[in-house]
């Protein structure tokens, strides 16, 4: 009896695999993925796309974007969606889900952890959404030139605004997000109250006043710009994505250090657009790409925090350089001590108003200081590229 029970699932699985291999070979329809390009895409290629093709015999075609929902909206409206899976920040995924641009995901989509715990206990809170499944966390952090402040180094996010002790120009992203949080933190506000206080005119004014007190700000939009500005010595401190700074520090050996205090963590998710051509393959891919093993492989190639506890504790060294990746991922306990969880629901509802308010302030500031105006962002969404 016992023997039959043991062998039957194996046979079934083998048959299924054969069937899958047969059909995929027969149809050979590739999986079309939309992602962010750059170092991030290279890591995904090694950790996710190639292993998926090998395991399932399905080609993966990758296209690039810089965030935003405008194109997805057009494609869904036309009923012709050229992607099966999209790598999307959670705030945009929430907005897209509300607009009905995404397929709902089955609740049992994610695979359980290797040592048994079900997925809903293994993923971090809020990772499993109606239309989106968080796979990693990336962080917006401040980085500084290690040679800029002889004898001292910034340790708190308030140091970003302290140009007396840490003189020199700053580079900040041209968005209200992250900048307002940091400005308010520098007033000594506890992290849990940030968004409640930013919801009041007084809180906004306080944050913008702190930003306004900074003497020289270079505003950036492209995720690579802060690294370049720091490298070229145009600024001494810059905000940016932790993965890009890691790349510059470790792979290119530039004199840059990350200030982890005040890091703003964001969820990066997988979603399936409405009218996707291969929803079944897309679901199989998401299950594959969010397995503990694949998340570990990804985090060992680019320092983004895996969304599963079982993956976070298994992260080891970079396969090529041998760098201990645990120390570089935002969710490492040492790095996460002063982390801010971005209130994505808040941003999803207030983005337009906040953008207008911020743009108005920026215009006034630029008129006053004569800072170089930056070209306004095209489209209706914030480009956020991790």
């Amino acid at each position: 009896m016992a023997r039959t029970f043991r062998t039957t699932p194996c046979r079934l699985a083998a048959a299924l695999l054969l069937l899958l291999a047969g059909t995929s070979g027969l149809l050979a329809e590739p999986l079309r993925v939309l992602s962010w390009g750059g170092a991030y895409e290279r890591a995904q290629q090694e950790a996710l796309f190639t292993p998926f093709s090998e395991a399932h015999g399905i080609e993966v075609e990758v296209q690039r974007y810089a965030g935003g929902l405008a194109e997805l909206r057009r494609a869904v409206a036309a009923g012709e969606v050229p992607w099966d899976v999209i790598d999307m920040t959670r705030s945009q995924a929430m907005a897209a889900c509300d607009e009905g641009l995404l397929e709902p995901l089955p609740t049992d989509l994610a695979a359980p952890a290797p040592d048994g715990p079900p997925a809903e206990h293994d993923f971090m809170p809020g990772a499993i959404g109606d239309c989106a499944l968080t796979h990693t966390l990336f962080a917006t952090v401040v980085a500084y030139r290690t040679d800029a402040f002889p004898g001292r180094r910034p340790t708190r996010i308030a140091d970003l605004f302290d140009q007396r002790r840490f003189p020199g120009p700053r580079a900040l992203q041209r968005t209200p997000a992250v900048n307002l949080e940091w400005a308010l933190l520098a007033h000594g506000v506890p992290r849990e109250e940030l968004y409640r206080l930013l919801s009041t005119p007084r809180g906004l004014a306080l944050a913008l006043a702190r930003l306004d007190a900074l003497e020289e700000i270079r505003w950036w939009e492209d995720g690579e710009a802060p690294v370049r500005l720091l490298t070229e010595g145009e600024v001494v401190m810059a905000s940016g994505y932790n993965g890009r700074f890691f790349d510059a520090m470790v792979n290119r050996d530039l004199p840059i250090e990350i200030l982890w205090d005040g890091q703003v963590q964001e969820h990066e998710t997988w979603v399936i657009p409405r009218h996707a051509g291969n929803p079944d393959t897309a679901r199989a891919f998401i299950r594959f790409a969010t397995s503990t093993e694949r998340l570990v492989a990804l985090a060992e190639r680019i320092p983004y925090g895996p969304a599963r506890a079982s993956a976070a504790e298994r992260v080891g060294r970079h396969p090529d350089t041998g760098v201990d990746m645990r120390l570089h991922i935002p969710t490492h306990p040492l790095n996460a001590e002063g982390a801010i969880a971005k209130d994505e629901t808040w941003y999803a509802r207030t983005l337009t108003r906040m953008d207008d308010y911020f743009a108005e302030w920026l215009e006034a500031r630029q008129a006053r200081t004569g800072e170089a105006p930056t070209p306004t962002a095209g489209g209706d969404d914030q480009p956020v590229a991790p």
């Binding site: 506000v189 849990e192 009041t200 007084r202 207030t350």
Partner: protein, 581 residues
């Protein structure tokens, strides 16, 4: 009179009983803490749903409708609260003052229905954005649950008082996540004595509350101060002075609440509509100054940040917050006085800090010290709890420098306010209701006991027309020294003593007893308290005092009964306050 059932002897049974009381304290602490956590959560959810919290207002997709909801929500909330309060006996919600009165008079037995309705209306008031506090309702809810526990187990009055204090301690420990403050508050404000017998159950309750708070509530600290500098030596003198000013502000705040309450009684509007009117007024003003809505946690935070308010703005928000709170509480919203006092005090501290910085030309590095000192200087006199206020600061900030600064300001604040206004707002309210706690619990107990409880008609009653001989014969037969003269209409004519009758007979001046009345002898009425009766005894020697209501004779109270009642009360108090297990 019920005697206290607390055993004071030694032996295994009293120890077991005592351990049982500690266990009961822990259970009550758990229940009270869960209810407190649910209450706090409920208010937060209501604030989000009803567009009171700034976050929900910011996220509301139709900002143009906000003006409408800002007025409509407090008005409708007031309407519901007013209707619910009609079901309460005095038409007013119960507050910590009722819990204090129950313990100080050893009455205990807080009514569950009134407690439940008051908690519900407080949640609606807070949820709809009324400018009231949440800690008062939590304290009363905890006290009611504690009293309920004692009643279910048929415990005596002393144990009832202890379980009330347990519920209070657990509620404070949960709401502030500050167990020490909970324990001290229960002793300082509710029990007003310190007995080891009460301490252990209260500590157990506070501990359970603290554990539940860290598990279930996971909320940020009420205020949270990162590393701070140490104030300059001369600034401590300012903190002491701020305490004096804060006491005056606390007095103004308390009298504003009471004053609006008095005005409201003269308002030509049905009392159950008063809260709705207050809500409409509050909402209209909040259109211009939204800081006055609700508990004001955001305002509290901003008040600790230098530069968040301009100097004039601080004064405006402070004045409006006092007015809004007085309006809401005076007009019958249900809620506490502590949270608004926190905001008012912190704004006051911020104002002092800004003034000092402007006048002395120093940096505002120590601004948060001024904010916290102002906060303590106003809250400690309002709730009558200097130690609790200090402990709240200490437990919430973990900052010793801040606590010593707060100590400096509370040094003057509490005694000045107690001299000028009363020990706390609760004491003032109770005094207005006829219960004076200013001379301690012994007096309060005697003042709460009526002589009518000891009334008897077992005495010699004579007609005023009776002859002297007849009267003397009756007294001798009944073996009494005094008789009371009552006519056929039950009217009281006075008291005669055997000695006077006898001397009148010898002098042969009078023929009827009505002419021999002892004019010096005072009478009592059915409302006379034991305290007043004791005061009369100092001047009178005799057997008993007559109780007379509007000329009608009710009976007499023997002096020996009054003395025995006094000894009995003192003994019960002594056993409750000095027993140790």
């Amino acid at each position: 009179m019920e005697t206290t059932s607390a055993p004071t002897g030694r032996g295994p049974l009293p120890v077991l009983r005592f351990l049982g009381l500690v266990l009961l304290g822990a259970v009550i602490g758990g229940v009270a803490a869960l209810c407190a956590a649910g209450f706090v959560r409920g208010v937060l959810v209501l604030n989000e749903l009803l567009l009171i919290s700034p976050r929900s207002r910011m996220m509301f997709p139709w900002p143009e409708l906000l003006a409408l909801t800002t007025i409509a929500v407090p008005t409708l909330g007031g309407l519901i609260v007013g209707q619910l309060h009609r079901h309460l006996p005095q038409g007013r919600p119960h507050t910590p003052a009722d819990a204090i009165a129950a313990v100080q008079t050893r009455r205990g037995r807080l009514p569950a229905r009134e407690g439940g309705i008051s908690a519900l209306t407080a949640m609606i008031s807070l949820g709809a954005g009324a400018s009231v506090g949440q800690y008062g309702p939590l304290v009363h809810l905890g006290a009611t649950l504690g009293s309920l526990g004692a009643r279910l187990l048929r415990l005596g009055r002393s144990d009832d008082n202890i379980t009330i204090a347990c519920g209070v301690a657990a509620a404070i420990a949960t709401a502030f996540n500050a167990p020490l403050a909970g324990i001290v508050f229960a002793h300082e404000v509710v029990l007003r004595h310190y007995a080891l017998r009460a301490f252990a159950p209260i500590a157990a309750a506070a501990l359970v509350g603290h554990v539940i708070a860290t598990q279930a509530l996971a909320q940020g600290a009420l205020f949270h101060v990162a590393e701070t500098v140490v104030p300059r030596a001369w600034e401590f003198a300012l903190f002491v002075a701020m305490g004096g000013l804060g006491a005056l502000l606390a007095g103004a705040y308390m009298h504003a609440i009471l004053g609006v309450g008095r005005l409201a009684r003269r308002l030509p509007l049905r009392p159950d509509l008063h809260p709705a009117l207050a809500g409409a007024l509050l909402g209209s003003v909040a259109l211009w100054v939204p800081d006055i809505l609700g508990m004001g946690q955001e305002t509290l935070r901003f008040a600790t940040i230098a530069g968040a308010f301009g100097g004039g703005e601080l004064l405006l928000v402070l004045a409006l917050k006092v007015a809004a709170t007085a309006l809401c509480l005076g007009m019958g919203f249900s809620g506490g006085v502590f949270s608004p006092a926190l905001v008012i005090g912190t704004l006051f501290g911020g104002l002092c800090g800004s003034l000092v910085a402007a006048l002395a030309g120093v940096s505002q590095e120590t601004f948060v010290f001024y904010a916290v000192c102002g906060m303590v200087a106003v809250t400690a006199p309002v709730i009558g709890a200097p130690l609790t206020s200090l402990l709240i600061v200490f437990e919430l900030t973990g900052n010793y420098a801040l606590t010593t600064a707060a100590l400096a300001s509370v040094t003057l604040a509490s005694p000045i306010a107690a001299q000028l206004f009363g020990r706390s707002l609760f004491d003032i309210q109770l005094r207005n209701r006829g219960l004076d706690l200013s001379s301690g619990r012994g007096q309060a107990l005697l003042m709460d006991t009526r002589v009518i409880d000891y009334l008897t008609r077992e005495c010699v009653i004579l007609s005023p027309e009776a002859s002297l001989d007849e009267a003397i014969a009756t007294l001798a037969r009944e073996r009494h020294g005094e008789a009371y003269l009552v006519d056929t209409q039950e009217r009281f004519h006075g008291c005669v003593t055997l000695a006077e009758l006898e001397s009148a007979r010898q002098a042969a001046g009078a023929h009827r007893v009505g002419d021999c009345v002892d004019g010096e002898r005072p009478t009592l009425h059915s409302g006379t308290t034991l305290w007043a009766a004791m005061a009369l005894l100092e001047e009178v020697t005799g057997e008993a005092l007559a109780v007379v209501d509007e000329g009608i004779f009710r009976g007499v109270v023997y002096e020996v009964h009054i003395a025995r009642a006094y000894l009995h009360q003192s003994d019960a108090l002594r056993r409750e306050e000095h027993g140790h297990g």
